[in-house]
C-alpha cells in the first residue's frame, strides 16, 4: 500500500494507521464512541495481508492482558477503548508499565464518572497523566486534535513506547474519534521479522534457545532492595522522557494579552474564539500541549510570562489546570478555568464569553 489521501473518521484512521505501521496485533472490546477501531480492523482483514492478528476479547480486562502478553513477546500490539473500559484496564496498564513493555493504548474519552454518557469529554486527563492504576508510573500521553494526528500518533506512540520500553497512550476525545477529515495515510511498512524482534527486544518471550538464558516477564519482586532499584530505574526513564519528549503547538503567543491553554478538539474550538477576540482587538495566544505527560511546562510558563492572565479550557471540571498552575508557579497570575461537563461541547462564542467574563473585563 502506498501513501493515500482519504476522508475518514478519527477512529478509522487509528485502525488504518496501525495496519500500515506494521502492527502485529490488536485486542479490543466494543464501547462507544470508539468501536469503529475494531470494526474497521475486522473489515480490513489485515490477517490476510500483513498477517496482523485482530481479536475481539471477552472484556477490556482480557483485552489489556492480551496486549500485555503480546508485548511481552516483543510484538507491536495495541488496544483501544473509551473511559469506562479504560478504567477496567488500569490493573493491566500498571503491570505493563512495571514490566517495562512497549504498548500503545488508546482512550477515546466519553463523559463520566460512572457509566456517564457516550458524548465527548476530556475528563480522563488525571487518569492518563498521573498514573491511573496502582504504583508509581507514567504513560507517555499524546493528545491528538485532528484526524491526521490520530493517524500520526499511532506511529509516534509505538516509536516512543519501544524507544523507552514504556506504555504510551493516545488520549483522544469523542469528537476527534467521531469527526471526519482529510487524512494522509502513510505507506505500508512491513511487520518486524522474528529475527528483528530478537535483536530489538532481547528480553522478549520468544522461546528459550540454547544461545541465551531464559527470559521472564514479571513485575513481581519480593526483595525490597531490588524492588526499590526497579522503581528507581522506572523513574530514571521518566526523567529521560521529560527531558526529551515534550511536545506542544504554540499559536500567536508572542506579545499576547492573554493565553489559552487547551488540548485535543477543545484547542481547535479555542482557535476560533481567538479569532473572535482578535476582531474585538484582544490578542490571545494558544498553547496546545501535544504531550500531556510529559507536560510542556517550560513552554506554558514562557508563553504566560508577559500575559495578563491565562484561561485553561477543558471538557472537564478542571484537570490540566493543575499542571498549568504548577508550570507558571506565580500566585499573582490569574489562572482561570472554563469547562463544560457531561458531554457538552462549548462553541467558540461561549469560550470568548468566558474569556471576557473571567479575564478581559475583570
Amino acid at each position: 500500500m502506498k501513501e493515500e489521501v482519504k476522508l475518514m473518521k478519527g477512529n478509522e484512521a487509528l485502525a488504518h494507521a496501525a495496519i500500515r505501521y506494521g502492527c502485529d496485533g490488536y485486542f479490543g472490546y466494543p464501547i462507544t464512541p470508539q468501536s469503529e477501531v475494531l470494526e474497521t480492523l475486522m473489515e480490513e482483514m489485515p490477517w490476510e495481508t500483513t498477517g496482523m492478528v485482530v481479536l475481539q476479547a471477552e472484556s477490556e480486562v482480557a483485552a489489556i492482558n492480551m496486549v500485555y502478553g503480546g508485548a511481552a513477546c516483543g510484538k507491536t500490539v495495541f488496544t483501544s477503548s473509551s473511559s469506562p473500559g479504560v478504567s477496567l484496564m488500569q490493573e493491566g496498564v500498571s503491570y505493563i508499565a512495571a514490566s517495562e513493555l512497549p504498548v500503545l493504548l488508546i482512550n477515546v474519552m466519553r463523559g463520566g464518572p460512572g457509566l456517564g454518557t457516550i458524548h465527548p469529554s476530556q475528563a480522563d486527563y488525571f487518569q492518563a497523566t498521573k498514573g491511573g492504576g496502582h504504583g508509581d508510573y507514567h504513560l507517555i500521553t499524546l493528545a491528538p486534535s485532528t484526524v491526521q494526528e490520530m493517524c500520526d500518533f499511532v506511529g509516534l506512540g509505538w516509536d516512543l513506547a519501544f524507544k523507552y520500553r514504556t506504555p504510551a497512550i493516545i488520549l483522544a476525545d469523542g469528537i476527534v474519534g467521531q469527526m471526519m477529515e482529510k487524512v494522509i495515510l502513510p505507506p505500508q511498512r512491513p511487520r518486524r521479522t522474528d529475527e528483528e524482534i530478537k535483536k530489538l527486544c532481547p528480553w522478549a518471550i520468544t522461546g528459550k534457545t540454547s544461545d541465551r538464558k531464559k527470559n521472564i516477564v514479571t513485575s513481581l519482586e519480593l526483595d525490597t532492595a531490588i524492588m526499590e532499584d526497579n522503581n528507581e530505574r522506572f523513574q530514571r526513564t521518566y526523567r529521560k522522557i521529560e527531558k526529551a519528549e515534550k511536545r506542544y503547538e504554540a499559536i500567536g503567543t508572542d506579545n499576547c494579552d492573554f493565553l489559552i491553554v487547551a488540548f485535543g478538539s477543545m484547542a481547535r474550538i479555542c482557535q476560533k474564539s481567538i479569532e473572535l477576540a482578535a476582531k474585538a482587538g484582544v490578542k490571545i495566544g494558544l498553547i496546545r500541549p501535544i504531550t500531556l505527560w510529559p507536560f510542556p511546562s517550560e513552554a506554558v510558563a514562557e508563553a504566560a510570562k508577559n500575559c495578563k492572565g491565562v484561561l485553561v479550557v477543558e471538557l472537564n471540571a478542571g484537570q490540566m489546570i493543575e499542571d498549568v498552575r504548577l508550570a507558571i508557579n506565580d500566585s499573582n497570575m490569574p489562572i482561570e478555568h472554563y469547562g463544560r461537563l457531561g458531554g457538552i461541547v462549548p462553541n467558540p462564542d461561549e469560550v470568548f464569553e468566558a474569556l471576557n467574563n473571567q479575564l478581559i473585563n475583570k
Binding site: 492478528v53 480486562v61 511481552a72 513477546c73 500490539v77 518471550i205 534457545t209 531464559k214 513485575s219
Partner: protein, 253 residues
C-alpha cells in the same frame, strides 16, 4: 565396589529433569506443586519443546513457577493467564503455550478468561491445580472448597447458604465447543503421577497440533492449608475430594 562405580550413566534409572533447576522451591513439604513442576519439566525435555514452550505463571502459590523451570515465562495478573496465553499463541502459533493456575486464580477471579479462551478454542494448555483452598494468602475458601470444609474464611465449615456450592469448573470447560481435551488427574501415588504425565503430554501435543483448548485438572493436596500431615492429606483427598472431583477424562475429542 565404590559408590562411583555404581553411579554410572548406564546404571542410572532416574534423574532430575535438566530443565528443573536447583533453586530452592518455596512450596511446603508434601505439596503437589513440586511433582507437577517436575512432570512439566520432564515432558518439555522429552518432547524437545525447550525452545517452543512458553509458560504463563499465575498469582497464587505457583507465582514463582518461573524460578524453577528453565523456559521462557510470563507472570500474569491474578486470573488473567488464559488471556495472556491467547495472545502469545496467536502471535507465535508455532510455540507450545501453557498456563499454570490454581483454583482461586482459574475458578474464581479468572473464570471469565478461562471459559472464553476455551470457548474460542485457543490452542493452549491449562494446567489447573485444584486443592480446594487459597494456599498463598493463608488458607481461605476457594470456589472449589468442599461443603463443610474449614478454612480461614469458613472457620465453621463451608455452608451452602453462606458460600454456595463447590464449583466443578472442568465440567464447565468440557461443555464449551472449543475445548478438545479435559481431564482430571492427581499426583498422590506413583501410578497417578504416570497417568497425570500422559495426560499433560497429550495436552501439549494438542497445543502443537492446533486441536483446541486442553485442560488438565490436578486434584492436589494443601497440607498446610488443610492443617494435616502430607500422608493424612493424601488420605483425606482420596476420601473427600475425589468424591466431588472424580478422576478421569471429561472430554477427549
Amino acid at each position: 565396589m565404590e559408590l562411583n562405580d555404581i553411579i554410572k550413566p548406564e546404571n542410572r534409572v532416574y534423574q532430575k529433569p535438566r530443565l528443573l533447576n536447583d533453586n530452592h522451591m518455596h512450596y511446603c513439604p508434601g505439596c503437589s506443586h513440586g511433582v507437577v513442576h517436575k512432570i512439566i519439566a520432564e515432558l518439555i525435555e522429552e518432547m524437545g519443546l525447550e525452545d517452543k514452550a512458553i509458560g504463563i505463571a499465575p498469582v497464587g502459590c505457583a507465582v514463582f513457577a518461573y524460578n524453577y523451570i528453565d523456559i521462557d515465562w510470563i507472570e500474569a495478573a491474578h486470573g488473567r493467564a488464559p488471556a495472556i496465553a491467547t495472545a502469545v499463541k496467536r502471535l507465535q502459533p508455532t510455540k507450545m503455550v501453557f498456563t499454570y493456575q490454581g483454583d482461586g486464580d482459574l475458578a474464581a477471579i479468572g473464570t471469565c478468561e478461562t471459559i472464553h479462551a476455551a470457548n474460542r478454542g485457543e490452542n493452549i494448555v491449562i494446567i489447573f491445580i485444584n486443592n480446594g483452598i487459597y494456599g498463598m494468602t493463608g488458607g481461605q475458601m476457594a470456589p472449589t472448597t468442599l461443603l463443610g470444609m474449614k478454612t480461614a474464611t469458613t472457620p465453621y465449615g463451608r455452608r451452602v447458604d453462606l458460600n454456595g456450592y463447590p464449583l466443578r469448573i472442568s465440567e464447565l470447560v468440557a461443555a464449551v465447543d472449543g475445548s478438545c481435551y479435559v481431564t482430571r488427574q492427581s499426583v498422590h501415588t506413583p501410578a497417578a503421577v504416570r497417568k497425570a504425565k500422559s495426560a499433560i503430554k497429550k495436552a501439549f501435543e494438542n497445543s502443537m497440533a492446533g486441536k483446541g483448548t486442553s485442560l488438565v485438572e490436578i486434584v492436589s493436596t494443601c497440607n498446610s492449608g488443610w492443617k494435616k500431615s502430607p500422608a493424612d492429606s493424601n488420605k483425606w483427598m482420596v476420601e473427600n475430594m475425589f468424591a466431588k472431583y472424580p478422576m478421569g477424562d471429561l472430554k477427549n475429542v
